[in-house]
């Protein structure tokens, strides 16, 4: 990989974005890349919009993705995907979990979806929460599912073996199987 790969993760506080970020960090290290990431804790995490950045490649300095430079935006919620899309460049792929968390009567799911679909970016709308709820009885691992999905589709330049190793390295033992199942599910077309 010649160029540094830039990812922005977004969603609502409590959706497990920090763990998702850690898995990418770890998988990138497993593949021998340099990596830097930036996350937010505290007040900004309490049910509000959250945004985290991760960059990996030969040599990475800044932990944050410059405007327009994201290769991939992972949005765990529709509105937050739309919100983050303002930072998308023309080559940014936007991968959105088809999940809507209402917070304001002026923001409707259908309209947010419509606006997302008018973007010129390559867009993937994936029912990750639903799939994980149906097949694993657990929605929170939809983050891990999406990593598998993106890797399988070639949107995330990290191998399955590296992501598996990352799960083994950083996920507490009692949740490993669940995460491995979620990851595997992401590779099912």
């Amino acid at each position: 990989m010649e160029k540094t790969f830039n990812i922005i993760l977004t969603g609502v506080g409590g959706q497990g974005i920090i763990t998702m970020l850690s898995l990418i960090d770890e998988a990138a290290v497993v593949e021998g890349y340099d990596v830097k990431s930036s996350e937010l804790h505290g007040l900004s995490q309490r049910g509000g919009s959250v945004e985290a950045h991760v960059r990996f490649g030969k040599k990475v300095y800044s932990p944050m993705v410059a405007n327009g430079q994201a290769d991939l935006i992972f949005a765990m919620e529709i509105t937050e995907g739309l919100r983050e899309s303002v930072k998308a460049g023309k080559n940014t792929v936007i991968l959105v979990n088809d999940y809507f968390l209402a917070f304001n009567e002026k923001v409707l799911k259908e309209e947010a979806l419509k606006n997302l679909k008018t973007l010129k970016n390559q867009l993937y709308l994936v029912p990750a929460s639903q799939v994980c709820k149906d097949k694993l009885q657990n929605e929170i691992v939809c983050t891990t599912y999406l990593l598998g999905y993106a890797s399988n589709k070639g949107l995330l330049p990290l191998k399955k073996a590296s992501l598996l190793q990352a799960i083994k390295n950083i996920v507490p033992e009692k949740y490993q199987e669940l995460n491995i199942n979620a990851l595997n599910l992401g590779y099912v077309d």
């Binding site: 609502v12 506080g13 804790h41 007040l43 309490r46 919009s49 410059a66």
Partner: protein, 541 residues
Amino acid sequence: MKKVLLGNEAIIKGALASGVSFVSGYPGCPSAEIGDEFGRIAKKYGVYAEWSTNEKTGLEASIGASFSGLRSLVNMKSFGINVASDSLLPLAYTGVKAGMVIVVADDPSCWSSAQSEQNSRAYAYLSHIPMLEPSDPQECYDFTKLAYEISEKYNLPIILHTTTRVNHQKMPVVFEEVNPTAEFKKGNFIKNPHQFSTMPPRTMEMKKELLEKIDKIKSASWTDLNKISGNKKEKIGIITSGVSYLHAKEVLDALKLNLPILKLGFFYPLPEKQIKNFIKGLKKVLVIEELEGFLEKEITALAKNANPKLEIFGKNVLPISGELNSDKINKAVAKVTDKKFVDFKLKQINLPRRTARLCEGCPYWQVFPVLKRIVPEGTIFGGDIGCNMIGALPPHSMYDYLFDMGASLGISHGISKATGGQKIIPIMGDATFFHSGIPALVNAVYNKSSPLFIILDNRITAMTGHQTNPGVGKTLMNNESPELRVEEIARACGVKNIRVLDQINVREFEDALKEFLTKDEISLIVCKRVCALLARRQAKK
């Protein structure tokens, strides 16, 4: 050992590798994980770790440990240093015995901070305490170790100044794994009032000694901390520090510019000689620093002699408010190098903000609507720090003023006195009450004002991630401790009208409010109900 670490985790590794044996502080974002993690590992590594009641008592605890010969680490967020400052300034005069590092974590852009966008670097000038600024987790580790060395060499405390983007940055860090030892190191206080007591005329001597130490540090060479890279023949240079350095490197690489960069690890004292040498041959220098332009002012003063014709750029091309990033720095570099800059136009989008909100099942949901329904129109509400400050946001929009820890009550006293008893309800959390609410309560009782004080006692310090406090009955190291009751302290302070209730009993809460609103002296309602997240977590165990 090489592992992906958060800046805060790297600070812990650095402290362990330096033989730290005493850790104190107060939780705040973005520094809280330092104390949290020490709570988990303290016993294993033979370290004593505590959450102190506030940053001042926390600093004082570590001063005592240092005077007794133990290496200590103090951790706090930006505003913590305001609270600790009363003991910080004399500490510079006495100096330390065993090494001491004070982590102060600022939060440019106020991601997790309410009261101000504080630039704590100013405390280095105020106190004459050396201050280091790491850029990334590797430097968090390296600088922490260096800080202990400098601390012991000059007998001074060292402030490790970080920001959110450093504390909560992750990268692979190379560090030395310390072998655990369950044996606690015991200190020994050897009397030495000549060093430990600030009392004139000794105080003036101490100041002289302090300034001499700073001069020595200034004239020493710190090649591990202040580094020059890039092509020294170029006529435009960059001076930067902290996370801004990383953004700047990124920008220069993208623009294929190889300008010389002086990266400062020491914020105070500045390596004046090195800076003078660096700027001597330059035509232009760009100073890249977050918030107020302290470095820029210093460099402007140094350039007067070293290079009077030097064109200095800083806050004229970079914002004084808000954290820096590659985009902002790119624009500044383009301006200084006369390059064309195409600004990335953020698309305009009409979406309301999704702000922080109370968690599902939060016991505070039961409080705000009842208050609004029961109190007479015109009643003033004062907010405080912690989860209760979410009450400032819609849909609650409760507060008429919101300041710092403990200030809801302190200010309510003044309003009550000034207005001759206009009805006022200050609202505070349990941890904040122990942190700095008690002196405000004593003042209100002693000087006879009549606020209706509400303490939302959710049995934990919730906002910063469920830390223990004196009301919990457990210490950071999970040892039993007497559970201090808010109402008993209030009674001892002289409050006569006190009601402790569970706000889920709405009628009881309403009746207490109605009754206490008629009082012309201070009264207190303690709404006691455990944080919903904590309750769920405890149920899982």
